[in-house]
């Protein structure tokens, strides 16, 4: 669980970035444990990318401090960043260079990277993301998905202790998305800490062990996926042809049935309080002569939790 080195993979306290009058990131306290697959969620404009850029030393924080892999940043950039692979806000390529030469150039940018193993490492990274056949092609001929793969290959050029992946499946086809998921699982199994930012909640739910949620520059929740789910409200779902009488029974039991949904005719749902028990409800339904096809209790989905934390609506925070 915790590979070489002391301290969390990422530890930030009071991290703040102000652009003009706008507090893009406001007092962020973030702890990413070693070995975690950490989902970093938030609507567009909530400060995810600004946070990632600060963590990687591209932006100077207005205030606050942070450590990567136990070392104080940004002072430790030269020694820490070689151990950190990153995909930041989409891939960037030199269109006039081949895929392979793109990787060679970025790898040779660091004086500490080993030139004698460079060719082998570049080939291995290309192979890992399935770009071997297109390695000699100029990058301007790459599709968005291929560029994304090239960006991932760059993040995998060296042995990394931490991967920071900003929207890693952006532009990928379903196969590519699955490959990225299994790649993340593989890397995590090797002990690499993976920090994934995404707004694709199902994706986060599938691979992550930990989650943090940002909203308008602030961190509104952070913890393991289970902890976050535990905070969520259990719901009872009753499938029945007698919708109206079922609603009456649930209301009589002290619950507040949700408004009928056109998406799911023949189901009644309600938030289940601490005390209410599904078994008692079933007995009450049957006693009232409600024909029950099925009854089950579900946790809130991550999506519901996300919306509850970050608010409804389509407006970009700004």
């Amino acid at each position: 669980m915790s590979p070489a080195g002391e301290g969390a993979a990422i530890q930030a306290s009071g991290l703040t970035k102000v652009f003009g009058k706008q507090r893009a990131v406001d007092g962020l306290d973030l702890t990413v444990p070693r070995g975690a697959v950490f989902g970093f969620l938030g609507p567009n404009g909530s400060g995810k990318t600004t946070t990632i850029r600060m963590l990687l030393g591209l932006i100077t924080p207005t205030s606050g401090e942070f450590e990567l892999l136990g070392e104080r940043m940004p002072a430790a950039r030269p020694t820490v960043l070689p151990r950190v692979g990153a995909l930041i806000e989409g891939p960037a390529v030199y269109p006039f260079l081949s895929g392979r030469d793109n990787l060679v150039r970025l790898d040779s940018a660091d004086v500490r990277s080993d030139a004698s193993t460079r060719a082998a490492r570049v080939d291995a990274a290309l192979d890992r993301v399935g770009l071997t056949h297109a390695a000699a092609k100029k990058a301007h001929a790459y599709s968005l998905g291929m560029k994304q793969r090239l960006g991932l290959a760059n993040a995998l050029l060296r042995q990394r202790d931490l991967l920071v992946l900003d929207e890693p499946t952006n532009g990928l086809d379903p196969q590519g998305t699955r490959e990225v998921r299994s790649l993340i699982r593989e890397l995590a199994a090797d002990g690499t800490t993976v920090f994934v930012s995404s707004h694709l909640l199902s994706e986060i739910e599938q691979v992550c062990t930990h989650v943090a949620v940002m909203s308008t520059g602030r961190l509104v929740a952070q913890g393991t996926l289970d902890e976050l789910r535990a905070e969520s409200v259990r719901r009872v779902v009753v499938e029945t042809p007698d919708v109206d009488s079922a609603r009456g029974v649930l209301a009589a039991a002290g619950l507040e049935p949700d408004a009928a949904s056109a998406d799911a005719p023949g189901t009644v749902t309600a938030a289940l309080g601490e005390s209410a028990d599904a078994a008692d409800l079933t007995a009450a339904l049957v006693a009232a002569g409600v024909r029950v096809r099925g009854i089950r209790v579900t946790g809130e989905t991550l999506e519901d939790r996300f919306v509850a934390l970050t608010g409804e609506g389509f407006d970009v925070a700004g």
């Binding site: 990687l56 030393g57 790898d107």
Partner: protein, 268 residues
Amino acid sequence: MLLADELKTLFRRWRTIALLSALAAVPVLIAVAVRVTSHIRAGGGGPAFVGSITQNGLFVSFSALIVSIPAFLPLAVGVVAGDTIAGEASLGTLRYLLTAPIGRLRLLVVKFLGSMAFVVAAVLAVVAMGVLVGVILFPVGQVTLLSGATVGFGGFVVRALLLVAYAALSLVGLTAIGVFLSTLTSVPVGAMAATVVLAAVTQVADSLPQLDWLHPWLFSHYWFGLGDLLRAPLVWDSFGQNALLQLGYLVVFGLLAHARLSTKDVLS
């Protein structure tokens, strides 16, 4: 080593090759123009050395260099130096270089050295193509220097290389300015245009007698001082003054570029 990779990347770029080709076309244009009109009585006008070309083809190189100094070379320098940081920023590769990681000062130094390598290549392209086309189209012989002495081909090559060194040195200041301007923006065309415009404005200022107090401080002031290198014995005055001036520009704009880049929030 990043500098090696930077040079490889720079000189493999189609744009760089096009710029060098355009510069190499200058002596060809001059030589062909003189050749096809050689039956017409040569007037006194035209750029320096043009009148001597029909007697000695080697003068094509000198002539082409002098024609290129005020406009073509600054234009090429503006394109390459203006692109250094802004180009990486506009491609988005700046963020990946910096997280590779490369130190910001090291990146600046590599970019400046890469631009200077291009400057040398650009001046060489003009002079070398000038020699080549001159030899092909015209008779070649002893070269008469400005002081009246003559040198053979070996002496000519030494003088030509001195001119290349002088012209490249003359562009150190403009290159440093271009790299600095490039740190200010993520729109490379903006930095390129600003550099080229600055080169033009400076030359205009240098030609106004009302501003003569300013002239010794302008980076273009010694651009045409290369005549001193065509005398025997060699006169090093303008070489030394030019070197000092260019060094001053390099220090000032190098520090400005470093101050800017080292504190810049990379948002591209």
